[in-house]
C-alpha cells in the first residue's frame, strides 16, 4: 500500500512536468493548428538558462532565503524562454503562415534539431549537474514513504502556475482574444483582434511554462544535457493528445495521468517497457478516441 502511495507521489511530480509541457503543445495547436516540434527543446533551453542563471546569481543572492533565490531563477528562465519562443515564432513560423501544414511541420523539426545541436555546440554534449536550488529534505520516513521537499515544491508550484494560467485564459482580455483566435482566426481578425500579437503571446506563454517544466525536471533528476528535451517532449505531446489536443484542462489531465501511469509501470515487473508505454497509449487513443478524453471532435469544413 505504502508503495503504491509512494509511486503515486512520484508519478504526480513527473506528471506536473508533462502537464506543463503539454499545455504549450495544446495552446499552440489551438491557435495555429500545428504541432510545435521544437517545444521539447525550449524545455531543454529552460533547464540550461536556469543553470546559468543560478550560477550567475550565486554571489548576488548570498543571505537570501533559498526559496526566494529559486523563485528568481525560475522567473528569469521563464522570461528568457518566453522571449525565445516568440523569436522562434517570428523568425521561423510566421513567414509560413499561409503555407501547407507539412511545410510548417518540417520547419518545426528543423528548429528542434537546430536548438539541440546548437545547444551541443554551446553547452557541450556531456550531461551537466544541476545545482540544488532548494534545501533537500525527506518527509514521511516514519510511515515508510520518502517524499522529498523538491517533489512537494514541484507539485505546489505547478498548481500555482496552472491557477495563474487559468486566470489569464479565462479572466483577462488577452486570454479572451486567445480563445477567440483558437475558435476562428479569421472571424477574430475581423473583430479587430491582432492575430499575430495573440499568436506571439501564446508562444510566449507556452514557452514560459516549458521553461518552468525544464527547471522542475532538472531539480528532480539533477542532470541536464542538450538532448534532454526529446523524451519528455514526445511524452508531453502524447499527454496532450490523450487529454484532447486543443483543450487546456485535457492537457493537464493527460499530463498527470501519463506521469502516474509511467511511474507505476516503471515500478512493476514491466519496468523495461517504461519508455514504450507512452506510445502504446498514443496508438490506443488514436485507434479508439482520436479526439482525446476531454477534446471535442472537430468537423473539417470544406
Amino acid at each position: 500500500m505504502t508503495e503504491a502511495v509512494q509511486q503515486l507521489i512520484n508519478g504526480l511530480s513527473l506528471g506536473s512536468i508533462y502537464a506543463l509541457i503539454a499545455l504549450g503543445y495544446t495552446m499552440v495547436y489551438g491557435v495555429l493548428r500545428f504541432i510545435n516540434f521544437a517545444h521539447g527543446d525550449v524545455f531543454m533551453i529552460g533547464a540550461f538558462s536556469g543553470l546559468y542563471l543560478a550560477r550567475w546569481l550565486k554571489p548576488l543572492v548570498v543571505g537570501w532565503p533559498p526559496l526566494l533565490a529559486a523563485f528568481v531563477v525560475l522567473a528569469g528562465s521563464m522570461c528568457f524562454c518566453a522571449a525565445l519562443g516568440m523569436l522562434i515564432e517570428v523568425l521561423a513560423y510566421r513567414p509560413l503562415r499561409k503555407r501547407p501544414r507539412l511545410t510548417v511541420l518540417i520547419t518545426a523539426i528543423g528548429v528542434s534539431l537546430f536548438l539541440e545541436y546548437a545547444g551541443q555546440l554551446v553547452f557541450g554534449a556531456a550531461p551537466r549537474g544541476f545545482p540544488t536550488l532548494v534545501p533537500e529534505k525527506t518527509y514521511g520516513m516514519d510511515i515508510g514513504l520518502a517524499v522529498t521537499s523538491t517533489q512537494l515544491i514541484v507539485v505546489a508550484v505547478t498548481l500555482v502556475l496552472l491557477a495563474l494560467l487559468r486566470h489569464v485564459v479565462l479572466r483577462t482580455k488577452l486570454g479572451m482574444a486567445m480563445r477567440a483566435v483558437s475558435h476562428n482566426p479569421s472571424a477574430a481578425a475581423l473583430m479587430g483582434i491582432h492575430t499575430n500579437v495573440i499568436i506571439s503571446f501564446t508562444f510566449g506563454l507556452g514557452s514560459a511554462l516549458a521553461a518552468a517544466a525544464g527547471i522542475f525536471y532538472s531539480l528532480l533528476y539533477q542532470a541536464i544535457d542538450p538532448f534532454m528535451g526529446i523524451g519528455p517532449g514526445i511524452k508531453a505531446f502524447v499527454a496532450a493528445v490523450l487529454g484532447g489536443i486543443g483543450s487546456l484542462p485535457g492537457a493537464v489531465l493527460g499530463g498527470f495521468l501519463l506521469g502516474v501511469l509511467e511511474t507505476f509501470v516503471g515500478g512493476s515487473r514491466f519496468s523495461t517497457f517504461r519508455d514504450g508505454i507512452a506510445f502504446a497509449v498514443l496508438i490506443a487513443i488514436l485507434l479508439f478516441k482520436p479526439s482525446g478524453l476531454l477534446g471535442r471532435g472537430e468537423r473539417e469544413k470544406v
Binding site: I35, I106, D275
Partner: protein
C-alpha cells in the same frame, strides 16, 4: 520509356560491378552508400512527396529490414548466395512493410501531423526493442553478417525502386496518391478511399526502406541499433526536401549530393547537424519546392522563348 530506363540502369549496374575491382575501398564504400541512400530517399519520397504524409520513421523500417535479412542469411549460410540473398532482402522488405502497416493503419486514419509523431515514436521503440533483444546481439549489435552487397546489388535495388515508384506514380494508384496530397477532402468527395491510399503508399515505402536496410547490413557486415536512430531518418527527410518533394529525379540528385556532403563534412561532425537543421529551415521558407526545381521566373522565360 520507364522500362528502357530500368534496362539501362541494370546494365549500368552490371558494368559498374565489373569495374568494382578497380575502385579503392573508400570510394567503393561511398558508391554503395549512394545506391542505398537513393533507395531510401526515393521510397520516402513516395510517402512524403507524392502522398503528402510526413513520416519520420524511415530508419526504423530500415532497421527491421536489416535485422530480418541478416538473421536469414546468417541461418542459411550454406545456401547459394544468388538465391539466399534476394530472398533475404525481400523478406526484410516484407517484415518492414508489415511493421509499416501496423504503424500506419491507426495513425493514417487521422490528419497528417499524427503520423509524424507516431513514426518518430515507432523508430525509437524499434531501437529500444532491438537493444533489449539478446538473440540479435542487443546493444552490442549484430556481427559477422556475410558480405553480399556489391555495386551490382546496390544499384539494382536503386533501379528497381526508382522503376517501381515511377510506374506506381503514373498509374491509377499514383493519381490517387497525388489526389490525397493535393486535397484530401476533395479526394474523398471524389470517392477515393484516402486511408487506403495513404496506408498503401506508406507500406510500399516501408518495404523499400527494409530492402535498403538489408543491403546496408550485408555491406557493412555489422549493424547495431544506434545506427538506425532518429538522425538517420532526418537525413533521408533532408534528401527528399532538398530534391523537392515529389520530384524523383531531384531526390536522386539530392541523395547523391548529400551522401557526398556527409563524407566531406565528416571532420566537422559537430557542425554538420547545425548546418543540416538551418538548411531545413531556410529551404522551407525560401524554396519549399526543393533546391533543384527551376524557379518560376526562369520557367516563365523559357515558355516565352518557346512561343
Amino acid at each position: 520509356m520507364a522500362r528502357l530506363a530500368l534496362l539501362a540502369a541494370v546494365v549500368l549496374a552490371g558494368l559498374a560491378s565489373l569495374a568494382g575491382g578497380r575502385i579503392d575501398p573508400y570510394h567503393y564504400d561511398i558508391l554503395v552508400t549512394i545506391g542505398v541512400n537513393i533507395i531510401l530517399a526515393v521510397s520516402l519520397n513516395l510517402v512524403n512527396g507524392h502522398t503528402g504524409q510526413f513520416s519520420l520513421g524511415h530508419a526504423g523500417f530500415m532497421a527491421v529490414g536489416a535485422y530480418t535479412s541478416a538473421v536469414i542469411t546468417l541461418s542459411l549460410r550454406s545456401g547459394p548466395v544468388p538465391v539466399v540473398f534476394p530472398v533475404a532482402l525481400v523478406a526484410g522488405g516484407l517484415a518492414a512493410a508489415a511493421a509499416g502497416f501496423l504503424v500506419g493503419a491507426p495513425s493514417l486514419r487521422l490528419r497528417g501531423d499524427y503520423l509524424a509523431i507516431v513514426t518518430l515514436g515507432f523508430g525509437e521503440i524499434i531501437r529500444v526493442v532491438l537493444q533489449n533483444l539478446e538473440a540479435v546481439g542487443g546493444a552490442r549489435g549484430l556481427e559477422g553478417i556475410p558480405f553480399h552487397t556489391n555495386l551490382f546489388w546496390s544499384y539494382l535495388g536503386a533501379a528497381l525502386t526508382v522503376f517501381t515508384v515511377g510506374c506506381l506514380v503514373h498509374s491509377t494508384y499514383g493519381r490517387g496518391f497525388l489526389a490525397v496530397r493535393d486535397d484530401e477532402i476533395a479526394a474523398e468527395a471524389m470517392g477515393i478511399d484516402t486511408t487506403k491510399y495513404k496506408v498503401l503508399a506508406f507500406v510500399i515505402g516501408a518495404f523499400f526502406a527494409g530492402v535498403a536496410g538489408g543491403l546496408y547490413g550485408h555491406f557493412k557486415q555489422y549493424i547495431n541499433p544506434e545506427g538506425f536512430n532518429f538522425l538517420k531518418s532526418v537525413e533521408v527527410v533532408v534528401m527528399v526536401i532538398l530534391g523537392g518533394m515529389g520530384n524523383t529525379a531531384g531526390v536522386i540528385v539530392a541523395a547523391i549530393g548529400l551522401t557526398l556532403l556527409n563524407e566531406g563534412l565528416r571532420e566537422f561532425e559537430v557542425y554538420r547537424m547545425v548546418v543540416f537543421s538551418l538548411l531545413l529551415i531556410l529551404l522551407m521558407i525560401l524554396r519549399p519546392g526543393g533546391l533543384l526545381v527551376c524557379p518560376q521566373w526562369l520557367r516563365h522565360l523559357w515558355r516565352k522563348r518557346a512561343k
